[in-house]
Chain length 426, copies 2
């Protein structure tokens, strides 16, 4: 099999997120050899990561093994490795283990959160990009209530039951809503010395309104829905300092134990490693056909790309952009193999959704703006349809139905690291 | 509420495993004050831990938050803490945070695996007692195949695809069967350079037969069923040394990357801390009523107890023993409060089950010995019935049905520790 493949054009796809996976699926049935490289062994459905962080879903519910997703394409090989550098002149990439040559390269390594130069804040306020992030946030949330239940000092207890989310984009809004719900409903009856429904959830946004990428009426609706849930929203204000004991917000120091970062992204370092021009957050500035200048065999897609040819602004770092770019990049590869030119990319924006909680969401469907229950149903539908694999879809749907009717969230596990596990003295 | 409770007799239960949880449920509706202390926030359904380790189930599927399980009993308080010592004279226990007095104490802290004095083997061959253990074993299993796929050295590849399980009791048998199945079915089509179905699974048992606690005909059947699955079983032989690169078994050194320990248990250190007589594996030797000598207010149950009054041998460390002892200990507490004596415990042995794989199991139901499909159906039924919570029951059942018909196992995640997570160079 490998011998027959060796003569085909070799396409390397780095990153098995929404963009990379779509490109691989599109190229899977074609007369090419494809190598997909990712540093995890699973495709992560990032839009539902906040539900793992708030104990509604298990990690495996929103992750599908990359090998399994692509196993039916015999010309696609999957490698678990981290890319360290790209040599566009020699057409080679270097991973932690080895060096591999390519004919075509699709880079889709995404983004991590950015702390605006304050990397020391990462330990204090984890972000939400990976499963490990989500499990850590879940641990901190649940531990805060356990801690509050045990202590008697009133100020410390209040701080333990204050949750500050920094950043009022979709992730921040979703986290704030979910924490408010878990404290008001799921945990309400579980404790004897504290009342979890008294937890303070504070959402901080630097811009004058939440969900800045949404139309103004939906921002206002999101604000109202969050306030109804009991979330304190502070817009046009910034977190200027973070410490173990709290957050400095403008002139006020808010004592709090758990802080969650949802404020900014930095593109993967691979962009820099490429040597192409990058923007201020590390995204590669791509041509209107997704290629980089001077190297049409290299395409950059998804959160790693700065594509500004359509609106003058970079397209947002959301999954529909990544998926459409993934399919487009695959089509470009096939075109170039056939001796044609890569085509201009055009993003078809079907709208945006953000959920706030049970029956609460906003949806900008372009032709209509929805709030509350209709928006929430739209959100539900879209997320179930796009979740990879019937098994995951079903498990998620069942757990949502269960949570909807019982207010219970089943994945309330505080797990420790293996190495750090406390052992009894021998 | 707390004031009204303060005058009631105070029962502390340490450990929310099968024994502790049953005791708490039994005491929940009674006129006592109960404090349940556990070092995790969940009750773990240990008999299915091997399914988390082999990617069939998610951690949350076999774990239920202790608070949620007991939340309806308003006189039961749950504390997340680790017990460090017990002062039976002062009737006090000391946790990592505080000191608490009791009127009655039920100790149910269970066991960890024991390496027969070779504690350095623990890092080389993790056991299977906690969720962290299971996630680590899962990571090693899946990483072994990823590693084998990447390397070209034939000997190293063979070693990566050799899995040695040390200990042929129920856990060892279940792990060997599950690893054989995942390699022969689930992963079979996922790789391009290796054939996972060629993986060697070797099960080593020191005794002359597997499942020494089962009748001889069922041991023979288990052996046959494992061999049919392609497992190499070596009985009457011991692992005399473990290294990074392999296992010394008798005169043979078996090169292998992944080693799993299923050979022995040591009771929790709390037994020692009690100052009562303990046996060679740390279990507390209890009276025939589960109390310890001189202190009828202290009872020890489950894997932590050595109860030899019924058969002359200690009762086995299985969940039915723990559950029956938990209920009995609770009844004893109520009897003593009423001025009566604690009663002699009698274990009603309904039989034993061990599963080997799809349609493969053995069941000793006392009145009948079952093998293969009937035993497997019995195992399925018992485990679903006893799994805590409808939600977990349903999720597990669905995932088993899915796996049964598709050979797919959905929880194939290689997750890293948060602290150890590789970050891109800044």
């Amino acid at each position: 099999m490998e011998d027959a493949l060796a003569n085909r054009p070799h396409v390397i796809i780095v990153g098995a997120g929404f963009g990379g996976l779509e490109a691989a699926k599109k190229l899977g049935p074609e007369n090419v050899r494809v190598t997909v490289i990712d540093r995890t062994n699973y495709h992560l459905f990032q839009p539902l990561l906040y539900q793992v962080a708030t104990a509604a879903l298990s990690p495996a519910d929103i992750a599908a093994p990359v090998r399994a997703v692509l196993s039916k394409y015999k010309n696609v090989e999957v490698i678990l490795a981290e890319v360290q550098s790209v040599d566009v002149e020699a057409k080679k990439i270097r991973t932690t283990d080895t060096e591999i040559g390519y004919d075509f390269l699709i880079l889709a390594t995404g983004a991590r959160h950015s702390y605006f130069g304050h990397n020391e804040w990462e330990k204090l306020a984890p972000g939400l990009k990976s499963l490990e992030d989500a499990i850590e946030v879940r641990r901190r949330l649940l531990m805060a209530f356990e801690y509050a239940e045990k202590i008697t000092d009133e100020a410390a207890r209040k701080a333990a039951m204050t949750f500050v989310i920094i950043g009022g984009g979709p992730t921040g809004v979703e986290m704030a809503g979910a924490i408010a719900e878990i404290s008001r409903h799921t945990l309400a009856r579980d404790f004897r010395h504290i009342d979890p429904s008294q937890a303070r959830v504070i959402l901080i946004e630097g811009e004058p309104r939440l969900l800045a990428a949404f139309p103004k009426d939906l921002s206002a609706s999101a604000l109202k829905q969050l306030v109804d849930l009991g979330v304190e929203v502070r817009t046009a204000t910034r977190a200027t300092n973070l410490t173990e004991t709290g957050v400095q917000v403008g002139n006020e120091f808010i004592p709090c134990r758990v802080k969650i970062w949802a404020a900014g992204n930095n593109a993967s370092f691979v962009g820099k490693a490429l040597g192409a021009s990058i923007d201020r957050v590390g995204r590669v500035i791509v041509n209107d056909d997704l290629t980089i200048s001077g190297h049409p065999e290299v395409q950059v897609i998804g959160d790693l790309a700065n594509f500004s040819h359509q609106t003058g602004e970079p397209l947002p770092g959301v999954s529909p952009v990544a998926m459409q770019q993934g399919r487009h990049a695959a089509r470009n590869v096939l075109a170039m193999i056939a001796g044609r030119k890569p085509q201009r990319f055009h993003y078809w924006d079907k709208g945006s959704l953000a959920t706030i909680g049970r029956n609460r969401a906003v949806a900008d469907l372009k032709f209509a703006h929805l709030s509350g229950l209709p928006a929430w149903l739209a959100w539900l539908f879209v997320h179930i349809v796009f979740l990879v694999g019937f098994r995951n879809r079903f498990l998620v749907l069942f757990q949502w139905a269960w949570a909807y009717f019982t207010f219970d969230k089943g994945a309330r596990l505080i797990t420790r690291n293996f190495q750090a596990e406390q052992r009894p003295p021998a």
